[in-house]
């Protein structure tokens, strides 16, 4: 005999396993390794939360009581999956594109982000789902007691402790742990979905195991089983056409509107394409779930004593046969069904309660007092957790109040009928652009009221509605009798309530929608929802700038008037080379449209409106603030971009200049190298030729020998000098030269230079004039002397006068000292005057063998000393001017 302790241990172990699965899936998703989490099979299995404890236990009970009617519960979703696949796809697309988080969010977003509507839907969902959650608690409690019947000690325990309470607490903890671990903008819960998928497999396996045991273990095969079914009451029950149609419709509606179904169908959907697999795989799952329901019911009715609860047949049949293991498996299946439903329903409801009731109240109370987004996140998570607790507490209370005696299926159907009230607003919203917020609200309220009055309240028995009200109607108004409204009597209460509530709901919805006028925002949202496939070629990118030109036009028409808006749009389209009225939403066009609109409604509003459509943004104060924020950022960014752009232009210009300079430098470098090559090879040619002559000397006269040797010597010296000059120039040009700054008299430097050139042995006569030669200098005296020597030597070499004479004249002009070197020769021809300072330049017909670097070096030296060297034209002969900065401290004289 299975003791209760073992049962509890198994339960705890099972929950621990779920924890582990959820935890691992969460981790895998976090690390980006969760590709397998995104498989269509996981999606399909997660849809199986449609099959709750009601399905697991209740279907057999339902079959035992009402025959094949239980099939309608599966028929609705199957029809939706197979026949309304395209509608589901539209809903999923809308959910993903608009970042819908719940069924309440869907409806309120569609109708202009109506807060009132969101609250209504949320309340309706909470009220509608509470019986459903209590159903799960009831079924788990029932299954516990089924085990405990055979265990006296356990029965005592059950009596002492409130099983339902502990189950509720445990489920609340699990849901809080995995449903609110983090705040995902998409409201996706990988861990929970994975756990649900595992539970889906467990419950299917358990139910099939029991079914196989019943058919082959107890009945003795398929044939005998069929005979037993034929012989049982179930085979003889008549099909009630009205109830069949009604229940199928109800379950189909519930499949779409149940918050937990919306959560797994739309919110947790990873990929629209998964629907393709689910469209056939999920109906197959449902078929497998229902395969053994009738056999178990028939055998249960045969085997179990009269009066035993048929809802527990799945459990009690194996128990009665001593199959404890199978019973345990069956118990786990039921436990799985219950827990998965409660978890997801609690998450879905908590999302709605916190997003649409708690958060708006909190924001209103704090009035922006929350200091930052992290604060808000904290509050949101707290609100979620509290909401989960509240939802489960409500379920528990309902269980306690309703007494836990009702058939499981009946409770489930009450919920179905309640949630089905969302259907007109939902379907109308995504397929009919004319649907308005007022219509949705009115229909919902009417449907909700009728459902509560005629179906929910009577559930509580005498506690809520007195028998008098039930019989005569409130205050004696007969046509308001809960189970015979408008005078229609004798109809099944469920069918009666569903018929009236849904039909009046739909009627009011349509009529009010037709007579009320939607706000512009509502129109925009409506257009986006209804035309979702035209608008979102890529459902993932909600801010991808996929423009809704048509929506822009709708808005513009409302603001500018149809005629003006149309002509504006036509002009814009023509500007883009398009026919018709819808231009591409280019930034240019949007900017012009915004300007156009701001004339009528002001700049901020115009921008917000365009931004809403362009970003497919939802409409809330936070979002408008975010848009405004973003705009500021964009402007900031744009000005940064502008600065960057002009900087880039500047850089490009600089680069071009640098490139040109480099090209020039490269050409110059080639010319320079070519020159150096020439200058080096020329003396080397003489050296080589004469050294070969000397080597092969036979019969050379000693006079020639001496002459040739001295040529070689002279050319070697020329080479050395050339290399010295080149190195000197290179050092000067690179600015690596180290100057030896000293004080000295200018006249001393000149005297020293004249002496160094040995003019006394030369024909050139040097004349020194000028009053300022007694100037004190503070410079590199040796380098300055190098310049002077070069200039004097040039005069020696090139002055072609008969009586060559060089005048060195010193003057002070301003803060500068001027030293002129003027000879009485023919001077440098004008075309060469600018060239003489270039490297290797030689005035034609020169006689002396310089390398042509002297003046280039002199000019570099003067530049280093802070002075200049230039040719002074118009002096009759060759004339060079050296200009020097005067020393700060002047000579005493």
């Amino acid at each position: 005999m299975a003791t209760l302790n073992i049962l509890i241990a198994v339960c705890l172990g099972y929950v621990a396993m779920l924890f582990a699965v959820a935890f691992m899936a969460e981790r895998a998703a976090l690390r980006g390794r969760g590709n397998w989490l995104r498989s269509p099979w996981i999606y399909t299995l997660s849809l199986s939360i449609y099959c709750t404890a009601w399905t697991f236990y209740g279907a057999v009970g339902y079959a035992a009581r009402s025959g094949l009617e239980f099939l309608t519960i599966y028929l609705g979703p199957t029809l939706i999956m197979v026949g309304w696949w395209w509608a589901l796809r539209k809903m999923v697309r809308i959910g993903r594109t608009q970042r819908i988080t719940s069924v309440a969010d869907l409806i309120s977003s569609r109708y202009g982000k109506s807060g009132v509507l969101a609250v209504c839907v949320t309340l309706l969902a909470v009220v509608g789902i509470t019986p459903y959650i209590s159903l799960q608690l009831q079924s788990v409690t029932l299954s516990f007691s089924s085990f405990a019947v055979s265990d006296a000690e356990g029965a005592e325990l059950i009596a002492t402790y409130d099983t339902a309470l502990w189950v509720a607490v445990g489920l609340a903890l699990f849901t809080i742990l995995f449903g609110t671990r983090n705040l995902d903008a998409n409201e996706r819960h990988h861990g929970v979905v994975m756990a649900i998928a595992v539970e889906a497999v467990v419950k299917l396996f358990a139910l099939i195991a029991v079914g196989v045991f019943v058919v082959w273990g107890l009945a003795g095969g398929v044939g005998p089983m069929m005979e037993r079914i034929d012989a049982s009451q179930i085979g003889q029950w008549q099909v009630d056409g009205g109830r069949w149609v009604g229940l199928t419709l109800l379950s189909a509606a519930a499949f779409l509107t149940l918050p937990r179904m919306f959560q797994v169908l739309v919110v947790e959907n990873e990929d629209e394409g998964h629907l393709r697999t689910a469209a056939w795989a999920f109906p197959t799952y449902l078929m497998l779930m229902s395969l053994f329901v009738v056999p178990i019911a028939v055998i249960g009715l045969e085997l179990m004593p009269p009066g035993s609860n048929p809802d527990q047949f799945v459990l009690t049949v194996p128990l009665s046969q001593g199959r404890d293991g199978l019973a345990m498996l069956s118990f786990l299946g039921g436990f799985s069904s219950a827990t998965s439903m409660v978890i997801v329903a609690a998450i879905a409801l908590a999302t709605m309660v916190s997003n649409h009731i708690v958060m708006p109240i909190f924001l209103r109370l704090t009035q922006g007092g929350a200091s930052g987004p992290s604060d808000v996140r904290h509050v949101v998570i707290l609100a979620r957790r509290m909401s989960i607790g509240v939802v489960l507490a409500l379920g528990y209370l309902y269980y306690k109040v309703s007494g836990g005696g009702t058939a499981l299926a009946a409770i489930g159907l009450v919920s179905f009928a309640g949630l089905a009230q969302l259907l007109p607003a939902m379907i109308g919203g995504i397929f009919w652009r004319g649907a308005t917020r007022n219509g949705a609200l009115a229909g919902l309220l009417v449907g909700f009221a009728i459902w509560a009055w005629s179906l929910l309240l009577p559930q509580f028995g005498g506690g809520a509605l007195s028998p008098g009200v039930m019989e005569q109607g409130p205050w004696g108004i007969a046509w308001l009798r809960p189970e015979a409204m408008f005078g229609i009597e004798g109809v099944d209460p469920l069918l009666h309530a569903a018929l009236w509530s849904l039909s009046l709901n739909a009627l009011v919805f349509v009529v009010v929608s037709l007579i009320s006028f939607p706000s512009p925002l509502e129109r925009l949202q409506g257009a986006q929802f209804v035309n979702i496939f035209e608008h979102s070629s890529n459902p993932q990118s909600w801010s991808g700038g996929i423009a809704q030109s048509e929506d822009l036009m709708i808005m513009a028409q409302r603001i500018l008037g149809p005629a003006e808006a149309q002509s504006f749009f036509q002009t814009e389209a023509a500007r883009q080379g398009l026919a018709g009225y819808l231009p591409e939403p280019t930034p240019d066009f949007l900017a012009r449209l915004e300007r156009e609109l701001s004339g009528a409604v002001g700049g901020a509003t115009a921008h917000a409106m365009v931004a809403q459509i362009m970003g497919a943004a939802t409409v809330s104060v936070e979002d408008l603030l975010a848009v405004a924020d973003e705009t500021a950022q964009m402007m900031e960014y744009s000005s940064q971009l502008e600065a960057k752009s002009s900087e880039l232009t500047r850089t490009a210009r600089q680069l071009r200049a640098a490139n040109e300079k480099l090209t020039q430098l490269s050409v110059q470098k080639d010319a320079f190298l070519s020159q150096i090559s020439h200058e080096l090879r020329t003396p080397m040619t003489s050296i080589r030729a004469f050294s070969e002559i000397l080597r092969d000397a036979d019969g050379l006269q000693s006079k020639d020998l001496t002459r040739y040797a001295s040529i070689i010597h002279a050319e070697a010296i020329r080479l050395t000098r050339l290399l010295d000059d080149l190195l000197d120039l290179s050092v000067l040009e690179n600015g690596q030269v180290s100057l030896n700054i000293r004080e000295g008299l200018l006249s001393d430097v000149i005297s020293h230079s004249i002496a160094a050139t040995g003019t006394d042995m030369h024909a050139l006569r040097v004349r020194r004039v000028g009053p300022a030669s007694e100037v004190m200098l503070n410079t590199d005296l040796d380098r300055l002397a190098q310049v002077f020597i070069n200039l004097i030597a040039n005069a020696q070499k090139y002055c072609d006068a008969d009586r060559p004479e060089l005048t060195i004249e010193v003057n002070r002009r301003g803060g500068r000292i001027i030293v002129d070197f003027i000879d009485n020769g023919s001077g440098i021809p004008p075309e060469s005057q600018s060239m003489v300072f270039e490297k290797f330049y030689r005035v034609a017909d020169r006689q002396a063998g310089g390398a042509g670097l002297g003046l280039a070096i002199c000019r570099e030296i003067m530049a280093r000393l802070g002075g200049t060297l230039g040719y002074l034209p118009g002096q009759g002969g060759g004339a060079f001017r050296v200009s020097l900065p005067a020393a700060q401290r002047m000579a005493a004289r």
Binding site: S677, M684, S686, I687, E692, E715
Partner: protein, 122 residues
Amino acid sequence: MSKRVLIIEDEPNIIEAISFILSRDGWHVDSHSNGHDAVSVVRARAPDLVILDVMLPGRSGYEILTDLRAQPETRDLPVLMLTARGQARDRELAERAGASRFMTKPFSNADVIEALNALVAR
């Protein structure tokens, strides 16, 4: 009768060296050191062979050679070009201008004599 060679070169030491080795080899050597009138000097003296430097004062060796090749009397005159700028481009320019032979300074004396003999033997 010895062959007559005209050296057009501005570097006196090089003229002297070439003159010495060619005279020793039996050539009659003449020289000119200016680019301006080089073409007319060649026509006037009508040598059997010309050694032409590229970098001359006044006019470049390429220009002189181009002029020589343009005139019937000197179209087939053997010309050995000497250059101190030994880059591939200089060789190309020399060939385009119509040089019979091209040599880079510094040269080996033996090579010069061999080149000249080969040119007049043709």
